[in-house]
């Protein structure tokens, strides 16, 4: 009979090992899935995890893509992780990402075609505020009415998608676009184009912001009183309240930071890789970032690594789609599997597994 015994404190070793074990298990299960799809599992896994980085033919294109894809994931996941640590579940980052892009983009378009260098910073601020405001809706409803922030933030994703559709078909449609849906292309507007800062690296302002967020979150958690409050609330909510932490303020702060970062991610994506507001502007980064946050153990450095790994599965997935005609959906299932395995092996962090024969224990509690 296998018994679980709660560890007094989470195991340090397993905290670091579980993400690695989870990735390995996902590779095995994913390989089985690819085999079931009639693909060579070894080849598929190699195409996803190895070829984008080291294949001579593809690496030149794929490597810069790594930072491009990882940046929004890391930026969003950093914000989410602060809330998750404190038991504040913002799962609507996808919506905040959209609204950040729409608000930031809207502010920019209001000044079109000005060439002022101030517009891009202004758009960044507007994007952050847009995401922040969208996250404040579930935050304030939670604080005022005790409404589940999980459900509200998620439902607002669907509302944001409708706003996005409305904007790209109406208000923000490119007047010179020949009636096609979608806004002007920000990439073709030099004053605001979020271009590659160092050629050949994929490094754009969003990547810079993501790195800054990692450092900021690290310092916040290690040194700042807010970081202490977040960690305390996560570990012992009642103790935190006695210690003078205001739950309402903490909820609003966590929701606000995560919303603002998601909004920023949306704005950088809009002015960079995406280029324009269109109906299919959002591509699920807000949801994948949830996996990134957990895979990174809600720790800033972990999230940095997890973001890069998850970006790799995106790029490798595209490659596998192209090379082996593995369906795009397989990658999504693959990413979901990763979170499953992570949560499953996490039991080892918090519990010790004991093989105990129940009959030898005579009722000892």
């Amino acid at each position: 009979m296998i018994r679980l015994e709660k560890r007094p404190t989470p195991s340090k070793m397993w905290t670091y090992l579980t993400p690695i074990v989870a990735v390995l298990l996902t590779m095995i299960a994913g390989g089985l899935m690819f085999a079931a799809l009639g693909k060579n599992p070894v080849e598929a896994i190699r195409t996803i995890f190895y070829d984008p980085l080291f294949n001579e033919q593809f690496a030149a294109y794929s490597r810069p893509q790594l930072l491009v894809k990882a940046a929004p994931l890391i930026l969003i996941a950093i914000g989410l992780s602060l809330g998750f640590r404190a038991g504040v579940w913002n799962i609507g980052a996808e919506g905040q990402y959209i609204i950040g892009a729409v608000v930031g983009g809207g502010v920019g378009l209001a000044f079109y075609p000005s060439g002022s260098p101030l517009i891009f910073p202004l758009m960044i601020v507007a994007g952050g505020i847009g995401g922040w405001a969208w996250a404040m809706i579930p935050g304030l409803l939670r604080v005022w009415f005790n409404t589940s922030e999980i459900l509200v933030s998620l439902l607002l994703v669907y509302v944001a998608e409708q706003i996005l559709a409305s904007m790209s078909l109406g208000l923000m449609r490119n007047p010179e676009g020949g009636g096609f849906p979608g806004s002007r292309n920000f990439q073709q507007w030099d004053a605001v184009a979020n271009v590659e800062l160092i050629p050949g690296t994929g490094m754009h302002w969003g990547v810079v912001a993501a790195f800054l967020a990692v450092i900021g979150a690290y310092v916040l958690l290690a040194k700042h009183v807010l970081g202490y409050q977040i960690r305390l609330t996560g570990a012992a909510p009642r103790a935190a309240r006695f210690a003078g932490v205001s739950p309402s303020r903490l909820i609003l702060t966590c929701m606000g930071i995560s919303g603002a970062l998601a909004g920023l991610a949306g704005l950088f994506e809009l002015t960079g890789p995406a280029g324009q507001i269109s109906i299919d502007f959002n591509s699920g980064y807000g949801f994948t970032a949830i996996i990134v946050a957990f895979l990174g153990r809600l720790h800033p450095v972990g999230i940095l690594l997890a973001g890069l790994l998850m970006a790799l599965t995106y790029i490798g997935g595209e490659l596998a789609q192209f090379m082996l005609s593995v369906p795009a959906a397989a990658i999504q299932a693959f990413q979901g599997m990763l979170l499953f395995f992570l949560l499953a092996v996490d039991v080892l962090t918090n519990y010790r597994i004991r093989l105990a024969r129940t009959d030898t224990k005579t009722g000892a509690a």
Partner: protein, 308 residues
């Protein structure tokens, strides 16, 4: 408002309410046992594709619905294993279920895009369906509409009048006390989760086999989340969940009708209305803190680890 007949509206409402009703009734049982499964959306979409695939391959909608229930239940057992045996966080695991379900269903569904499923016929009530007004509204639907209502009644009776229902509620209110009394907390919860998965699967299949009826990726479009909100709206009481489902069905049908009628309101605003109304209702229901706390199962979402 001209051109929208109340009779057709009410008839369509019953159909529109069915998927979220089925899923929400299942989730009510799950939450009554003290488990918060946020994976309803993932189980619904999995049910949608499993039901669709089975129905297309066998030509039988009945087998399709059975396959959907099975698919949803199997997926929910992953959640059950992770949260009940490996003691993982229920919120995170529920989300994982949804993310995985969306990807997995898209994967299976690839070869089914554009396929037409076998039609699910309406039940023949004979002369009853000829009654003016009541006939078309109440007695002109397919079997799943009535299954939804019967399931509501069954769950209500189960929770209220049976010993098993009482034990289930005890587990949800205080798993430690229930455990001390000798009830198998984990086993009961796993059964409840599987039931919730099967019901969500049925709800999903109703969307792909009857409401739409065809397969597209992500076609549940938040129905699972609305079902979760319905449980809160219904204060964990089956009949109130039913009323909530009809209310949301009504709003969905009304906004679709208004879109079709070309009324001078932006289409996007109408399309987002079901979500906005859901949020509004959630706010109203949770605003009264005392009542909300009274109705919610006390052990909801808490990890149970038997120490002895």
């Amino acid at each position: 408002m001209a051109g929208i007949s109340l009779e057709l509206l009410l008839a369509a409402l019953m159909v529109a309410a069915t998927p979220i009703l089925l899923a929400a009734i299942g989730e009510t049982v799950v939450e009554k046992s003290g488990v918060l499964n946020l994976g309803v959306e993932g189980m619904m979409i999995t049910g949608a594709i499993c039901g669709f695939a089975v129905a297309v391959e066998t030509g039988s909608p009945t087998l399709g619905f059975l396959g959907a229930a099975l698919g949803g239940a199997v997926l929910s057992l992953i959640f059950a294993f992770l949260t009940q045996v490996l003691l993982s966080n229920q919120v995170a695991t529920g989300l994982a279920l949804t993310l995985f379900g969306l990807g997995f269903s898209a994967l299976i569904g690839q070869s089914y895009a554009g396929v037409k499923p076998p039609p699910t016929g309406d039940i023949d009530f004979g002369p009853l369906s000829d009654i003016p007004f009541i006939g078309p509204v109440v007695f002109s639907h397919d079997i799943m509409v009535y299954v939804g209502i019967l399931a509501t009644a069954a769950v209500w009776a189960f929770l209220r009048y049976t010993r098993a229902g009482l034990i289930l509620k005890a587990v949800g209110e205080s798993h430690d006390a229930a455990h001390a009394l000798g009830y198998k907390v984990v086993r009961i919860r796993i059964l409840a989760i599987a039931f919730g998965g099967a019901m969500a699967g049925l709800g999903g299949a109703y969307i792909s086999l009857v409401r739409v009826p065809q397969w597209t990726e992500g076609m549940t479009a938040g129905a699972g989340w609305i079902a979760l909100a319905l449980v809160v709206f219904g204060a964990w009481k089956p009949w109130r969940v039913l009323i909530g489902a009809w209310l949301f069905g009504g709003i969905t049908v009304l906004q679709l009708n208004l879109q079709a009628a070309g009324i001078a309101v932006p289409v996007e605003l109408l399309s987002m209305s079901p979500y906005l109304v859901t949020i509004l209702v959630l706010v109203i229901m949770s605003a009264d803190k005392r009542r909300a706390a009274l109705n919610a199962p006390a052990s909801l979402g808490r990890v149970f680890h038997a120490t002895s």
